[in-house]
Symmetry: C2
Subunit: 664 residues, 2 copies
C-alpha cells in the first residue's frame, strides 16, 4: 500500500532529506543515542516539545473546554487484576514469527505485507511498468536484495492485492496459512519463519518491595477513566451524558518498531470517554451543528471486497444511511475532522477507515480510524470506537462496584412477578459450604420455573431444584427456608450501564504526519541550487511564532531587540532572537526549517524611526510599520484572526532585498 508521498507543494517528498532536517533541528531524536539507542524510543527536542504542547493545547480547547469534559489524570502503573478483567492480559497481543536460522523476530502481518508488496514491485519491473520509489529509508535499507523482476500471473497479482487490502483482518492462524500458501521467506535469510504466536504488548513490572504485586504499564488511558466512572458521575451531579478525558503516556512493547515516530513503544495519547445512554439510538444534541460536514470514508464492506475506494459523504448522510452506526459516533468523527483541519493537516490526505470484524479490538462494537497519508502509507492517527458497555460491565461484575446510572423515572414502572425470598439465617447452617451456590441457583430461576416451584412449596412443603455440583445434583429446600410469591414491584428509578464512545488520539503520529503534510522545498520552487526545506505550520501550531533578527551585531540594535522581545513575551507569544553572525538569509533559512511563521528584522532604519519589518515565511514577502502596529499584526496572525494576505493588504510592503549582509 505504499504511495508516492508528496510535499505541500506537490513535489516528491525526499524522506531522507526530511529526516535529516528534523534531526538537525532537534524536533526529535532517538533516545539514548550515545548508548546506541533503543528501537521505538524517541526524545523530543525543544521544537518538537513545543509543537507537541501546541497540538495538545488546541486539542484541549477543541474538545475538553468546548464540551465541558471532565479531565482527569490517572496512573500509568496498573495492577494485573484490572487488565486481566479488561481483557488486555489475554487479548492485547500481536502475532509474531521467528526466523529459525538467524533468530530474527518478525511481526507476522508486517512480514506478509512486506513480502507481497516486494513481489508486486518485482512484477511491475518485469512488465516494464513504472515502479514507485520506496519512501521509507529504513525499509529500503533492510532489504538485502534488490527487487527481483519476476513476472506474476494476472490472477496472482489480483490475489495479492486483495490480501493486502484486508491485511488487518487476518488472525494468527490465517497469517500462518498465507505464509505457507505463498511460501513467504525472510529476505535476510531466505527461509520461511515459524508459525505466528501471540505476543502480549504490555510492559510488565512488579509493584512494592515484596515483588508479589504484578503490574503493567497501561496500554491506553481508558481503564483509569472507567474505574473512576462512579466518582465522575457524582462529580457531574448525576447528569448524563458526559465525557471524561485524559492526556497521558501509554506503552506498547512493539515487536519490531520501525518508521520513526509512527510506531513507538512509549507515546502520548489523548483519549475521550463519552458516556451515553444506550437507549434512544445514541443521539447527540449537537449533531445538527456537524450534519453538513463532508468526510472521506472507507467502509468495511469495500475493504472486505478487496478494494480501497473511498466515498465522500456528509456525516449527516452517513448516519442516516447507516454507514456510520449512530449520531454520537458520527458527531465525534466530524469533530475529529475539524480538529485535524484546525492544526493544519492536509485534508486531501485524510480518510476515515472502518475496522473489519476481526480487526476490531476485543472491546469494540464499531470503530473508525482517521488515517493520514504519509511516506509510510496510510497511518492510523485517531481511533473512534464504540466500546458499548463492555468495560464498565466487566469491571462492575468483577468488583461488585455499581458502575451504573440511576435515573429517576417520571412515571414509575409497575411489575407483577414471582419473587424469591430466602431466609439467609437458616440457609447457611442447613447447606454449609454449598449455601451460596444454592442461593444463587434459586435467584437465577426464571419466572415460569418460579411458578412451578411455588406450587411445589404449597403442595409438598418443599421444592426440588437442580444445582450442579451440589450433592447428587438435586437439592431439596423446605418452605421455612424460602418463600416464592406473586407480588407487585414498583420501580421509581431506571438503572443502566452507559455505553462509551471513545475518540483516541496518538499525538506523536499526528505530529509526525502533520510535519510531512506541511513540508516543502523552496529550491524546486524558485530554481535555487540548494535544497531549502520549509515547514509551513499554521501560526497557531508553530513551535516558535517569531524570529527576531538584527541586521548585524551592531550594539545600537540591542535596545530594540529587548523591547520587542518583552512586548511579545507579555502577550504570550514565543519569540527567539538570532543575533548570530550568519547572514540574514541563512538565519531565515534556519527558521524556515523550524517552521517559524514570522520574522522581524531590526535595521538602521529602525534606529532612526522605530519601524520594523515583518516577514511571512511562506511568501517571503515583507511589510514595514511601527512596532505597535507590527505587534498587533503578529497577535492577530498567531491567534488565527487574520491571515498574511489581510496583513499584506493593510500594511505597506517593504521591498528591501534580503541582502546577505555578513557581520562580524
Amino acid at each position: 500500500m505504499t504511495t508516492t508521498a508528496t510535499t505541500l507543494k506537490g513535489q516528491p517528498l525526499d524522506r531522507q532529506a526530511l529526516d535529516a532536517m528534523l534531526r538537525r533541528r532537534l524536533f526529535f531524536t532517538p533516545a539514548f543515542e550515545i548508548y546506541g539507542g533503543v528501537a521505538g524510543l524517541f526524545d523530543y527536542g525543544p521544537p518538537g516539545c513545543s509543537l507537541q504542547a501546541n497540538i495538545v493545547d488546541i486539542w484541549r480547547k477543541h474538545f475538553i473546554l468546548e464540551e465541558d469534559m471532565l479531565e482527569i489524570d490517572t496512573t500509568v502503573l496498573t495492577p494485573h487484576e484490572v487488565l486481566k478483567t479488561s481483557g488486555h492480559v489475554d487479548k492485547f497481543a500481536d502475532w509474531m514469527c521467528k526466523d529459525p536460522k538467524n533468530g530474527d523476530i518478525l511481526r507476522a502481518d508486517h512480514f506478509v505485507e512486506d513480502v507481497l508488496e516486494f513481489r508486486l514491485k518485482g512484477n511491475k519491473e518485469a512488465r516494464g511498468e513504472k515502479v514507485e520509489e520506496e519512501d521509507d529509508p529504513k525499509k529500503k535499507k533492510k532489504r538485502k536484495t534488490k527487487t527481483e523482476a519476476v513476472k506474476l500471473d494476472d490472477n496472482v497479482v489480483q490475489e495479492y492485492e486483495e490480501v493486502l487490502a484486508k491485511i488487518d483482518n487476518y488472525n494468527g492462524t490465517e497469517l500462518g496459512e498465507l505464509i505457507k500458501k505463498y511460501d513467504l521467506k525472510n529476505p535476510a535469510t531466505g527461509v520461511q519463519p515459524s508459525p505466528p504466536v501471540a505476543f502480549n504488548l504490555m510492559f510488565q513490572t512488579s509493584i512494592g518491595p515484596s515483588s508479589n504485586l504484578a503490574g503493567y504499564l497501561r496500554p491506553e488511558t481508558a481503564q483509569g477513566q472507567f474505574l473512576n466512572f462512579a466518582k465522575l458521575l457524582d462529580f457531574n451531579m448525576q447528569q448524563m451524558p458526559f465525557a471524561s478525558a485524559s492526556i497521558g503516556r501509554s506503552y506498547r512493547n512493539e515487536i519490531s518498531p520501525r518508521a520513526g515516530l509512527l510506531r513507538v513503544r512509549e507515546f502520548l495519547m489523548a483519549e475521550i470517554e463519552h458516556f451515553v445512554d444506550p437507549e434512544g439510538g445514541k443521539k447527540h444534541h449537537r449533531f445538527p451543528e456537524v450534519d453538513a460536514i463532508e468526510l472521506t470514508l472507507l467502509d468495511r464492506h469495500t475493504q472486505l471486497a478487496g478494494k480501497t475506494d473511498v466515498k465522500k459523504m456528509t456525516i449527516g448522510d452517513a448516519v442516516r444511511n447507516k454507514v456510520v452506526d449512530n449520531e454520537t459516533l458520527g458527531y465525534f468523527l466530524a469533530r475529529i475532522h475539524l480538529f485535524l483541519q484546525k492544526i493544519g493537516v492536509d485534508m486531501s490526505k485524510v480518510r476515515f477507515r472502518q475496522h473489519m470484524e476481526n480487526e476490531m479490538a476485543h472491546y469494540a462494537a464499531d470503530c473508525w480510524d482517521a488515517e493520514l497519508l504519509t511516506s509510510s502509507g496510510w497511518i492510523e492517527c485517531v481511533g473512534c470506537a464504540d466500546r458499548s458497555a463492555y468495560d464498565l460491565s466487566v469491571h462492575a461484575k468483577k468488583t461488585g462496584a455499581p458502575l451504573v446510572v440511576r435515573e429517576r423515572l417520571d412515571e414509575p414502572l409497575i411489575f407483577e412477578e414471582w419473587q424469591v425470598e430466602i431466609d439467609k439465617k437458616k440457609f447457611g447452617p442447613q447447606f454449609k459450604k454449598d449455601g451460596k451456590t444454592v442461593e444463587a441457583a434459586l435467584e437465577a430461576t426464571a419466572q415460569e420455573q418460579r411458578e412451578k416451584l411455588a406450587k411445589q412449596l404449597t403442595d409438598n412443603g418443599e421444592l426440588e431444584l437442580e444445582v450442579a455440583g451440589v450433592g447428587s445434583g438435586t437439592v431439596k429446600v423446605s418452605k421455612d427456608l424460602v418463600k416464592i410469591e406473586f407480588r407487585k414491584r414498583i420501580e421509581n428509578t431506571r438503572e443502566y450501564t452507559p455505553n462509551v464512545i471513545e475518540p483516541s488520539f496518538g499525538i506523536g503520529r499526528i505530529l509526525y504526519s502533520l510535519i510531512e503534510h506541511v513540508y516543502w522545498n523552496r529550491a524546486t520552487e524558485d530554481g535555487g541550487d540548494e535544497a531549502r526545506g520549509v515547514l509551513s505550520f499554521p501560526p497557531t501550531v508553530a513551535p516558535t511564532k517569531v524570529l527576531i533578527v538584527p541586521l548585524s551585531a551592531n550594539k545600537q540594535f540591542q535596545p530594540f531587540i529587548n523591547k520587542i522581545s518583552q512586548k511579545l513575551r507579555k502577550i504570550g507569544i514565543s519569540a527567539r532572537v538570532d543575533s548570530s553572525s550568519a547572514t540574514i538569509g541563512k538565519r531565515y533559512s534556519r527558521n524556515d526549517e523550524l517552521g517559524t511563521p514570522l520574522g522581524i528584522t531590526i535595521d538602521f532604519q529602525t534606529v532612526q524611526d522605530s519601524t520594523i519589518t515583518l516577514r511571512d515565511r511562506d511568501s517571503t514577502k515583507q511589510v514595514r510599520a511601527d512596532e505597535d502596529t507590527i505587534v498587533a499584526a503578529i497577535q492577530s496572525l498567531v491567534n488565527g484572526a487574520k491571515e498574511w494576505k489581510d496583513v499584506a493588504a493593510e500594511l505597506p510592503a517593504f521591498e528591501g532585498q534580503e541582502v546577505d549582509v555578513t557581520v562580524r
Copy 2:
C-alpha cells in the same frame, strides 16, 4: 518532628476533615479503588488535574520562558546500562527491615523515627506535659497501642532528639546499630526487625519481544537531559551557560508509601539542568536581581549539632558568607522561593534545608531542599542540587561521546612539555594482548617521569617501565617503538565538562502542601454550627475561576448564563455553571470547597437591567455592575493585575443577603 498543623487562619488543622473534603470534591482519589487500591498510586480528578495544570503553567512561565530554557520531553523507559552508569542501579536504594514474626516490611529510617517519636511522646505524658495530637490519621491508625507514659532520663531525651535531628544522615549499618542500641521493636508484633538491607527503588521491566533488554522506569527526568547534552548545546549554537528543562513523570518503588500524595510511587516532576562553566566561581549574571531576597535557612552544621534552628538571611549574604556555595545555586534558591510565593504557599511555612554529607545523593556536591510544613511535618518539595560534572563525566567515559564544551580561546595557550609518540603499528605485534595496557601506561606517565624515560631512550636505546600485570611487572620498550621529546603545543580551544545545578520539583508534593496552606474553616470564624471548608487558592492557581449561579431554574436566566459563559471562555477563563436545585448558599459552599475564587449571580434584576453581581470567595462580599465591567474585573483578578480590595473600591457593593432561595 511532628508539629501541630494549622490552617490559613491559624485554626488547628483537622486532617481527617480535610481529607474527606478533598475526596468528596475529587481533587484526588486512590487509584484502582474499586479493586482495593494500590498503595502509593493516586488519580487526580477534575479539580486536582486543573490545579496541577495551573501550577505547571506558572512553573513553565516562571522558569522556562523567563530564562529561555530548552524544554525537552524524554522517555520514561530507560535501558539498564544508562542507569548502571549513572549510579542508580547500585546506589538508588532505601534501607528496608523485615519483621521476622509477621513479615512486615519497614523502611528503616521511618521505623527508627516513629519509635523514637513515640517514646518521646510517652515521656511527655509521664511528665504531665502537653502532648501534640498526631495529625496524620494513617500513622495514628497504624499504632496498635496507645502511647505508654514512660518517663525517660533527661540525657536519653536529648540523645533521641539529636538522633531525630540528623535521621536523614544515617546509613543502613548505622540504622541497624540504632535499632539494636535502643532495642526498637515493631509495635505491631513487639519484636525487633531484621538488620536493614538495601532495596533498589526502581521499577524494572524488559524491552522488546525477546525479553533480553533490561530496563527501568526512570527515577528522575535528569538522565534524559544529560544524554542529550551535546545536541542541546548545538541547538543553543554553542552558547554557555544554558539550561534544559523537562516536565514529566518519574517512578520510585517506595517501600511503604504513606501520607497520601506526599510519598507516592508515580509522580510528576519538573526538573531544570542548568549547565555552567565550573571555572570562575559559578557566577550568575542575574544574581543582583535576587540578592536582597530573604530566605529561611537550616544549614548542615546546625543539623549535625542536633538542632533545627533556622536563620533568616538574604541570599546575597548567604552566598557571600559561604553558607550557600555559589551564585548560581543561590540564584535558583531565590527563584524557587519566588515561585512558591507566586502560587500561594504560606511563606512562614517554608524553609531551605541543606543536606548533610551522608544524606546527599551519590551525584551531589551540595544540595538544599525547599521544605514545606504540613500536618505530616516538614516535607521536601523542591531539591536544588549541585551535581558537579558527575553525570556528564560518567556518561562520556562510558560511551566515548564528547559531552564537553569547546570554547575558542581569545589568546591561544602555549605549553612546552614532554610528549610521548607511540608507533602503534609496531607496538601491537611486539606486545600482543598486552599492547593496549603498555600503551596506556606510557600515556599515563607524568612530565618528570617522561624526562627520565627520554634519557633512558637516548642512553640505552630502550626504556624500562613498571606495568602492573604485564610479564614480570616491568617491560622494556625500544626506541623504534616510542619517541619521547620536549616540544611546544599550542591550544586554541579550551575544553571542559560543565557542572550542573539542578532545581527539581515534586509537583504532587507542592500541590498537596499548597492545599493545606490555603485551607481554612469558615465555621470557626463566623460562629456557624456547621464546619464549612474553604480553599483560598490565588485566582491564578484556582482550578476553576468563576462559578455562575442563576438564582433559580427560571428559564429567563438561561440567555444570560450562555452569554456570560461564552464571554469568559473567549478570554480563556474557566467557569462552571451550577444551576442545580440546591440553595445559593449550598452552591457557594460547594465552590468554597473547590477553591473557586469568584462567583456570579444572575437574578431578576439581571433580566431587567443586565447587571450581575460578583462575589469574593474569601470575604463573601459582593459588588454589582454591568456585564462588561464585571468581566473586566474578573480578568484583572485572574491575571493578577488587581486584588479584590481594588475591585471592591471601584465597584458599588451589593448588600443583597445570600438568601437561600430553594428552587425546583
